[in-house]
């Protein structure tokens, strides 16, 4: 549910990092937070955690600059991955515009990845959203652990488990080392902004030509 503010010429999009517990969603956000210029990012909000697990969500607001005169602002959210936090996960998905599914490359986590993707599909369906129509990117995290002898799923297995039907862009990554993190962010940001612009702003341009509601002195359009 992007918010398009025509009076201030701002577009706000919500991107959610989803995935099983301990797959590295918060680590992705922390890497982005530490690597980005402070002018382009807001404060990172982390709700009280127990150990290193997210209990509610993390939030990182980013400014992506201007596109066609509109300031593009995105808010990155994570969900708690553990199965018991189902209600919280669903809550964070409310109003989502784009999703990064962070999969754990550890072989022992194979079933958890599949379970989490099914959970995502179910939760989206409850908001009348179809996973195939939303911008989605897969990230296969923890690829660096193979070097120290930990058994990993190879990317073909991950693709077959998670991306066989969806066929969305996928990226190998190590959120602790930082590789693949910005590639993932760049891809999902591009897809989300394009999705929001095509879905909402294209219609608005039409109404402008037709002398529609954009003639108002100040207008704020909230779209879901």
């Amino acid at each position: 549910m992007a918010l398009i503010d025509l009076s201030n010429r701002e577009v706000h999009c919500k991107i959610v990092y989803y995935g099983p517990g301990r797959c590295g969603k918060t680590t992705n956000l922390m890497y982005i937070y530490n690597a980005m210029n402070s002018a382009a990012r807001g404060k990172m909000l982390t709700i009280e955690t127990k150990g290193d697990r997210t209990l509610f969500f993390d939030l990182l607001p980013l400014n992506l600059g201007k596109i066609k005169g509109f300031d593009i602002k995105i808010q990155l959210y994570t969900v708690p991955g553990q199965t018991i936090y189902h209600a919280t996960r669903k809550l964070v998905l409310k109003g989502v515009d784009g999703i990064v599914f962070v999969a754990d490359s550890l072989r022992v986590r194979r079933a958890k990845n599949i379970e989490s993707l099914e959970d995502l599909k179910r939760n989206l369906k409850e908001y009348n959203l179809d996973i195939k129509s939303l911008p989605l990117v897969m990230q296969y995290n923890k690829r660096d652990l193979g070097k120290i002898g930990i058994p990993l799923l190879d990317t073909a297995e991950l693709e077959s488990d998670l991306n066989r039907e969806l066929r969305v862009p996928s990226f190998c990554a190590s959120a602790t080392k930082g590789y693949g993190v910005f590639e993932t962010l760049k891809a999902i940001s591009k897809m989300t902004v394009r999705y929001v612009a095509t879905k909402h702003l294209a219609g608005n341009q039409k109404s402008k030509k037709m002398g529609g509601p954009t003639r108002e002195r100040r207008q704020r359009q909230r779209l879901s």
């Binding site: 918010l3 706000h12 109003g95 879901s224």
Partner: protein, 138 residues
């Protein structure tokens, strides 16, 4: 969820109502947000600078979490929430099923007055935004 379009005159009217009902009564900050945590309207003069983006995200999450708690005990949701602080307090109220009105006020403003004004304001704003028609349940 259907799209909601709020035009300039509608938002100006909402701001005017908020200013007259709450800001003039001493409420120092009023935010109208949606359930995804986006700020739609901001009124008043905040005493301290605080991170509004985080505040709105937490407020939406807070409201969502208590709605889940309500369902666990057999309620549909809680239509208002109140947090009492030493100096400032926060009052949350639903506007239709899609928005939340948040009032932040000091100990010099009576809670009863805020509740009274907010009750009337949320009813009128739901009608103004057409949220009563969209959801049909307000």
């Amino acid at each position: 969820m259907s799209d909601i379009i709020l035009t300039g005159p509608v938002l100006d009217k909402a701001r005017d109502w908020i200013n007259r009902a709450l800001v003039n009564a001493g409420v120092h900050t009023v935010l109208l947000i949606d359930h995804a945590g986006n700020i739609v309207v901001r009124c008043g003069h905040s005493r301290t600078n605080f991170d509004l983006t985080s505040f709105a995200a937490l407020a939406a999450a807070n409201f969502g979490a208590t709605a889940q708690m309500a369902q666990l005990i057999g309620e549909d949701d809680f239509s208002l929430l109140f947090h009492k602080g030493k100096k400032d307090s926060i009052h949350f109220a639903k506007v239709g099923n899609d928005m939340i009105l948040i009032s932040i006020f000091g100990d010099d403003v009576s809670l009863g007055l805020v509740r009274l004004r907010v009750a009337e304001l949320t009813r009128n704003m739901a009608k103004l935004f057409g949220l009563d028609k969209i959801n049909g349940t307000y």
